[in-house]
Symmetry: D2
Subunit: 150 residues, 4 copies
């Protein structure tokens, strides 16, 4: 719980490819797992968000790979919320080898808030006031969740 959440899990065999390392696309999936854990631990469950009729799709994603992860490794993903406005949110991720502490990868993801029926943008302040308040209070590094208000 808090502004940085740690999410830990093992590498699965099926996540590796014939290079013998984890396929790069799986880091994008780990980022999603960690982001959902961030929300859950902070009391803004993504399941609840969807039950309230809001989806938070990904508008952009990036990942830089520093070292390879291997089958049998345990990865630790440190996730932070970088910004959260009524319209958009952004997370950052640092992925480590949980045993050696070495940095494996760094990533970011951008998101918007949309209505689950119409897929049109919604204002999270109005549609998800509790989750919005929770998340906005967790924004890291001086960003206050206000940047798209002006």
């Amino acid at each position: 719980m808090g502004a940085e959440v740690e999410y830990i899990r093992r590498v699965y065999y099926y996540e590796t490819d014939r290079m013998g390392i984890v396929h790069h696309s799986n880091y994008i999936r780990w980022m999603e797992e960690a982001r959902i854990e961030f929300m859950r631990e902070n009391g803004a469950d993504y399941e609840v968000v969807e039950k309230k009729g809001v989806l938070i799709p990904v508008t952009g994603v990036s990942c830089t790979y520093r070292r390879s992860a291997f089958f049998g490794d345990t990865v630790r993903v440190c996730v932070r919320l970088m910004s959260c406005t009524g319209a958009r949110a952004a997370f950052s991720y640092r992925m480590y080898d949980a045993d050696s502490g070495e940095l494996l990868a760094e990533g970011e993801s951008g998101h918007c808030f949309i209505d689950s029926e119409t897929h049109r943008p919604v204002n999270a302040r109005r549609r998800l006031p509790e989750e919005y308040a929770t998340l906005a209070a967790l924004v890291s590094e001086g960003q206050e969740g206000e940047s798209d208000r002006k």
Copy 2:
């Protein structure tokens, strides 16, 4: 088109695992691709089925692996409809190396028909009369799509 449909595609890099071969779970996905192609080519598009409010989930699946598939290979999946009743359907699959003709794997899948809202069983004869007629006429090996009527 017809009682047996051939579906051909290359193996993707991300489908391999650290053994250097295609991960076994991907054959289950190829079966789905081939099954959807079977329906499309025969004029019973799965998209249309879903638009009519019916889902055809998988109730069981099996696959026997004969030879490994590798990155760069092209696979040919031969798919047949083994039975189709108002309540259930079953497909069989033979997967080959498209170049050598060698058998890679054989599989089967079982399905039911459910309502997309309630997820309760529906009778495909009533809810999907056209698709049902199309599919029932394609059943291979003497099974006439009537086995669960009695």
Copy 3:
């Protein structure tokens, strides 16, 4: 540890499909995760097996789906070793909703032992004497790991 190992994990968002449920192919992957955990907990790590130059590929797999799993659910996979001979092994799996205790799916997988370089069959009794002894002692339901000796 022991003849039955329980493996528990959450359902990931990316494991769902547009039916709103977990895609059936992912149960096959959960079976692998649980099988690897079975080996790890019982001191026959799959990583170690591979380091000894042996692979244990899947020769067959089956799964019967009883109930759907959803995003946010936690699944509990109970895995047992059904047979283990010098040439082959078989596991069975029962997958439950960890909260309600409802049975979600039942599966089986068959495996052989091959050399990681040549991909030719090996005798696990000779190539993996420790792991073989460990596993053979864990075989459930009266099968003693001897069935292909005669």
Copy 4:
């Protein structure tokens, strides 16, 4: 063949998630499929590269999502090589709905060249002279494959 390669394929059912759209991680996989097709069509097969003992892992990836892709859609990926030096290469991707022509997503990927045994950097000019020459001649937008020589 040429500086821009078009890669076309259908969306698979299992690529969708419970939002009803293609899961964002799959675009990263489509980029890989398109990149491999780019190399194949231009006579620098990735299989051959690996046979020569070189791997081209991903060092970074990014994707911006403009519109959702759905089951049943056909996507067209336009891939270009943005730079190729002895040490590194970068591709860019534009993904379209093949029917409507609408832009779905834009992405980039960065790569390095490493030895398949040691995983240490190699110089593609020396280890893959033919493939290097082929690729360097295809670099788009005035970049000549020389940027890391100085």
